[in-house]
Symmetry: C2
Subunit: 171 residues, 2 copies
Amino acid sequence: MAIIGVLIDDMFEDVEYTSPVKAFEKTGHQIIHIGLKEGKTVRGKKTGTPVKIDKAVKNVSVNDIDALLIPGGCSPDHLRGYKEPVNFVKDYFQSGKPLFAICHAPQILITAQLLEGRRITGWRSIIQDIKNAGAEFVNQSVVEDDNIISSRGPRHIPLFTNACLERLELL
Amino acid sequence: MAIIGVLIDDMFEDVEYTSPVKAFEKTGHQIIHIGLKEGKTVRGKKTGTPVKIDKAVKNVSVNDIDALLIPGGCSPDHLRGYKEPVNFVKDYFQSGKPLFAICHAPQILITAQLLEGRRITGWRSIIQDIKNAGAEFVNQSVVEDDNIISSRGPRHIPLFTNACLERLELL
């Protein structure tokens, strides 16, 4: 079974965390919540879901996890305001391990300058940002491009979660 | 005295609305709140400041206002998910009238594809998006480039507000 890091901060889109994580745990995978400050409880923006940060991102190595989930909402934009999560995502990406990005998650990939030439989808408000980053925006529920599995938003969570679970089976 | 449109939606950064608007009104300027739905009350993200939308953006003409303020927070990202506010900002921009953009406000200017070759500042999380849009990111409290007056965020509101008031005096 895999160890899945969840990179998360306040005002994440609740269901983009709760739904995939529930499915991952049900399948036997282990979750590590990675954020800005160890022990802090961050909360979702719609229903206030509490998530306790297990490890500060500055203390996490790419070797500690087998896959990385980045939920959307305002969380990716908060995280990319700090250099530690941006550098972590950059290091993680180079490893080639699976990266699951939904909704606003591509924002931190843009700041980490990882999207040049990639095919990706995301929330409608960030389409121009994705294109300006040199990526091809693909208008699909789920897009798989090498190690990135991306999805547009809450409505597409079941398809996104299935694609993530299938990728985890290959590890 | 000028008529100032404020383009705003839920989860705006409270002080980026309350502080400049208070100064504008004190000086005798008139405010029109422009949003997605007329009559709706939108709220700030930190202290829940209520703002009643006076006019839906689809019913506003560029001729109705003399200047436009776009507060930050999550409001600009919400607004740019819809074509009406994006098209309005595009039309407004072409008029050459003053545009006051603080914090996350450049996000809607990016979606409207207005930043190519411009000098602008904004919140730290969107720096890469600003650069990818073809603009020069300027690390200053306030940046004036032709009709755009931009500012980094809450800490710079007094300087931003002064720059806006000075520009309004020239109208």
